[in-house]
Amino acid sequence: MADADADAAAAAATIAGEPSSSSMLDSLGEDITRIVTPVSTCMLLVVVLVSLLSSSSSPSPFTVAGGGSAGAGAGDEITSALITAVTFVVAVTVATFLLVLLFYLRCTPCLRAYLGFSSLSVLLLLGGHVALLLLSRLRFPLDAVSFALLLPNAAAALALAALSPASVPIALHQAALVAIAVLTAFWFTLLPEWTTWALLVAMALYDLAAVLLPGGPLRVLLELAIERNEEIPALVYEARPVDPRHGQNWRLWRERQQPTAGGDFDSNSTVEVIGEVLGSNLGANSAGDLGISAFRSDEQVDDLSGDARNLRFGGTSMPNLSSDSVRAQVEVLQALPETRVSVAEMRVPLIQPQPDRTRVEEEDDDEDGIGLSSSGAIKLGLGDFIFYSVLVGRAAMYDYMTVYACYLAIIAGLGITLLLLAFYRKALPALPVSIALGVVFYVLTRTLLETFVMQCSTNLLMF
């Protein structure tokens, strides 16, 4: 289905008047593959983690707290779920506006520091917790000394890889982003069921509103970055470009003006944002919202030529639950009290593709969020990774049948969003279509397909 979408997208691009898009057609399929693969890997890892760890006998503390406070009954659950979801969205909105404000005031060091802190906290605390759960479940006799030695080490190395993509191999940088997404998504699957679904739907709606409405925080942020010609530091997964320009340093655009090493360096090419991390810190009573939203804007970007515009845009940031009042409302969300981190993923909206990316002339289009960068690589915000994986992880808690259905739905949604990107050529949210399809497929599978398959199996018609 990705190929069909790729062909359709390429055809759409041709219809839209791209000159000589044969070179783009050639690599469009591979571009899409390079973004579908990490999304699929993230989902697979979350499903594996959920399958391994979810059958633990101890009830999730969330259910205990939620049940205690909300009382028995599905109605109460739904009510508390809706309240939680709305609170979450409100907190995310506030956090995003805060980030916009910081970005507007050019407080990039504090944004970068926050970003580093939040990603390090996610890797250290969540990663440590997941590692401990795995060790306990698998009864692997690792000793405490090695564990204490390896965990901070790995967390520091992965955080560094996620934050400064220029210092590490691209593969490691992408792996670090996927790791952060997996850990955050696993953490979200620990919420009670109704809360998870309400949260997903609410975040999809928020994403839609924040990107497309004129007053939405993400759109404001994007426009701010466009007019300033700056990068928004955010956690954005960027696929490796299929066709790196000859002599052009794809990643270092953000940091310096590339000297004409190969002699044909195009100083006007768009800068790619590789690993922007958007992190918003959770308050002391981290109610367990993990959103990675950190901004890191590169000062050197301002030195680039005016044509080299770099739009990096983070999607919605996860809620920033810091206040006690919020905590009281969302008591179901028990946080990591010792951690002060909330990782807010930026769900980067899809960005229009750059049709003439193989040209020497630069593209003046702004690359916002997900989309095709000047070198044709597709960028996807980490928040999208996380919520896709949360959906699939929650589906995994029921049965593998729902996992397959939701996986296909999400990939189809991603393909449709890329198609829309090719048509509309502006920033698009990546969550709504996929989450809508995923939820619909989950409900249909659980109610209709399962009965059908069970009947077929018991009658030896199909296995």
Binding site: P141, S146, S167, P259
Partner: protein
């Protein structure tokens, strides 16, 4: 990126290529090599997407020094990132300043991993027979249970 090596004999296209060709460079196309002036040498495993040569030395040194702060994985990253430097002969002039740092990083990481693996393997295989009752106090899942952190955090 001026890495002209003056007076180096024996290059494959002596006089045309100022840099030794055995340095692991990643050229985008072979045609480009012929058509353009001497192509740049990439010190990193990412080729043209990685660091340019003049920054590589500072980067390698920083990672090497920071690895001593109990972060041996930085040494591993150093080795992986500058794999072409590691694989090139140590007499290659383009990488002459980077090579010592990467080599020492590799040595440091090897020592660290050998020590850690030896200790972990001894612990796992030896078990209680070797360590006595103290083994149970050192195993991570017991430590986690004792500290109460194997449930969800907090």
């Amino acid at each position: 990126m001026e890495a002209r090596v003056a007076g180096v004999p024996g290059d494959e296209e002596s006089g045309l290529l100022p840099r030794p060709s055995t340095a692991g460079r990643r050229q985008p196309t072979a045609a480009a090599r012929r058509a353009h002036p001497p192509p740049p040498v990439w010190a990193t495993v990412d080729g043209p997407l990685g660091l340019p040569l003049e920054e590589a030395e500072g980067h390698a040194r920083r990672f090497f020094l920071w690895g001593f702060a109990c972060l041996p994985f930085l040494w591993a990253i150093n080795c992986c990132y500058f794999w072409p430097v590691l694989r090139s002969p140590s007499s290659s002039d383009a990488f002459s300043r980077i090579h010592p740092y990467v080599l020492r990083s590799a040595v440091g990481f090897t020592i660290f991993s050998v020590v850690l693996l030896t200790w972990a393997t001894t612990f796992i295989i030896g078990g209680e027979r070797l360590f006595g009752p103290g083994w149970n106090d050192l195993v991570m899942y017991n430590v986690a249970d004792k500290l109460g952190i194997s449930g969800f955090m907090g």
